[in-house]
């Protein structure tokens, strides 16, 4: 018999969610939405973007090789699957 656990849990969850929702409504959490959009940007906007790596040319070669290996693996898989197809 699982109903008691389930129904208790669901009801507690529902009640808490409704209480929190009403709190949010009364507390003005759904007002001032235009300002809320800017909240992540509000502290020190002087952040510097993380630089790109210095050895970019070798990086490009390396990444290209890796991507090629990945594609090669996928191609191998497809060829295998066709080969093994009954």
């Amino acid at each position: 018999m699982y109903f008691p656990y389930f129904i208790t849990y669901m009801s507690i969850g529902l009640v808490i969610s409704i209480v929190v929702f009403i709190w949010a409504l009364k507390n003005g959490q759904f007002r001032d939405q235009q300002r809320a959009r800017f909240l992540p940007l509000e502290d020190d906007l002087d952040q510097t973007a993380a630089g790109t790596s210095r050895v970019s040319r070798y990086e490009m070669y390396g990444l290209f090789l890796l991507a090629l290996a990945g594609l090669g693996a996928s191609a191998a898989v497809l060829i295998y699957s066709l080969f093994y197809a009954p």
Binding site: Y2, G13, S17, D44, D46, S53, A69, A73, A76
Partner: protein, 453 residues
């Protein structure tokens, strides 16, 4: 505004936890994948048999790598978004230490064969209690930080993180049947229902909201633009809470559970399109026309890629909840492919993105090596996509055989090549994890390079 919480010990601790356990978790996955190719490899090593390696892999990836990575970012953005200090950095550090002790216990007990044998709920009772306690500690720290805030409006990331932590503490207790310490289980079908109610919530109410929280913070900041719509983000949040909580039965469509439960699960799995698209539209519109900035920041690059994976995994998930589709995809590697796009491609990517985004800020120094991070990005990406391709193909072969009443042993040789490819991809991921760990340790502990001003 002045730096509200200058030490960030907790965030750093969780960064390190995540980076370290990523190696262990992926290594366990690699060992498991190798055993599927060569079953006799660890024949005489009891503590490394597949039945023990697999639960270690999933528990460590879940609670050792992804969750701590996402929490690291949350411990960074909470004080900043609420314009206050973290309630207690000391409590945070104690949490990190307790968390790691619990993870060591997870590995040891599972290796020694102490398990409750229920998927995602294998851990024995004392560890269950430890997990619940650490989640409650995190929640207490978060909610007290909210209480002392000077910013009246709670940004959507704060909502997501709070909900994730408290809901997980509750569903974990329920799903692990903590009131029955010896078995940790109910009996029969009710046990399956409650287990999958919890098992699904681990992804839907822990990884998903924590990842959404990190994304809602990192993307607007890295593109230096306000969120497209905060109202839409709250709509996404509340609909996730309403819909995601009771779709666990879509894991049991081929089991004799009550039909009404299946119907609820299927309808709401399809309805998941609402919170998913509310989130994605919001993030993609925020980033629209600013992909250059995302490319320039390695953290944002990981996070943004994670959102694309989220699109795929969720659309796929909604489809997989349809009984006709599941007749082919259930009980085979298709689901394993889905699991890896979700946990690695979506939540894992975003966890790594969160780490790389906050590391320069919590240390005050640039990342040790952008190149290593970029390589790790590509390795994780290639592996996520590679897993998806090979496991989906293997799954379709198995599903087709299953549907046609083919015997298992005749299918096994057909999927062998995919298992080999899968294990090789696993090796690439372990290498990626090791590179990431090195990079993160160097960034945290070695004082080199110029300070970020």
């Amino acid at each position: 505004m002045s730096n509200p919480s200058p030490t960030y010990q907790t965030a750093k601790g969780f960064c390190l936890t995540s980076a370290f356990w990523m190696i262990v978790g992926t290594l366990m996955g690699l060992i498991g994948a190798t055993e599927l190719v060569a079953p006799d490899l660890t024949k005489n090593i009891g503590w490394l048999v597949f039945g023990r390696v697999r639960p270690i892999h999933i528990n460590i990836v879940l609670f050792g790598f992804v969750t701590p990575g996402l929490l690291a970012a949350a411990f960074y953005y909470f004080p900043r978004l609420l314009k206050t200090e973290l309630y207690s950095e000391r409590l945070g550090v104690v949490t990190v230490v307790a968390w790691n002790i619990a993870l060591v216990a997870v590995v040891l007990t599972l290796m020694l064969g102490y398990t409750q044998g229920r998927e995602y709920a294998e851990l024995i009772w004392p560890i269950d209690v430890a997990v619940i306690v650490v989640f409650l500690m995190v929640f207490f720290n978060f909610i007290m930080t909210v209480k002392q805030r000077t910013e009246p409006v709670l940004y959507v990331s704060v909502w997501y993180a709070l909900a994730a932590v408290i809901l997980t503490a509750c569903t974990y207790a329920l799903g692990n049947i903590v009131w029955r310490p010896s078995s940790g289980a109910l009996v029969g079908i009710p046990d399956a229902i409650i287990l999958w109610f919890y098992g699904h919530n681990v992804f839907g109410l822990l990884l998903t909201p924590l990842s959404a929280g990190v994304t809602y913070y990192v993307i607007p900041r890295s593109v230096r633009a306000p969120l497209y719509s905060h109202t839409l983000s709250l709509l996404g949040f509340w609909s996730l809470i309403v819909v995601y909580t009771h779709i666990g039965t879509h894991h049991l469509l081929q089991v004799p559970v009550p039909t009404w439960l299946k119907v609820i699960a299927i309808v709401d799995s399809v309805a998941m399109v609402i919170p998913v698209m509310a989130f994605l539209i919001n993030i993609w519109y925020t980033a629209k026309g600013r992909l250059g900035e995302i490319h320039a920041d390695i953290g944002a690059k990981f996070v943004f890629t994670g959102t694309i994976m989220y699109f795929f995994v969720s659309i796929q998930g909604s489809m997989m909840s349809l009984p006709d589709v599941q007749r082919v995809t259930h009980f085979n590697n298709w689901v394993v492919a889905h699991a890896h796009i979700g946990v690695l491609g979506f939540a894992g990517m975003i966890a790594l993105g969160g780490l790389y985004y906050i590391l320069p800020k919590v240390t005050g120094r640039p990342l040790y090596s952008r190149l290593l991070a970029d390589i790790q990005y590509w390795l994780v990406l290639i592996v996520s996509i590679g897993f998806t391709v090979v496991l989906t193909i293997a799954g379709l072969i198995q599903g087709n055989g299953w549907l046609n009443g083919e015997t298992v042993y005749r299918i096994l040789p057909q999927i062998h090549p995919y298992y080999v490819t899968r294990a090789s991809l696993g090796l690439i991921l372990v290498i990626g994890a090791a590179l990431g760990f090195y990079n993160i340790v160097r960034t945290l502990f070695v004082r080199s390079g110029e300070a970020v001003t």
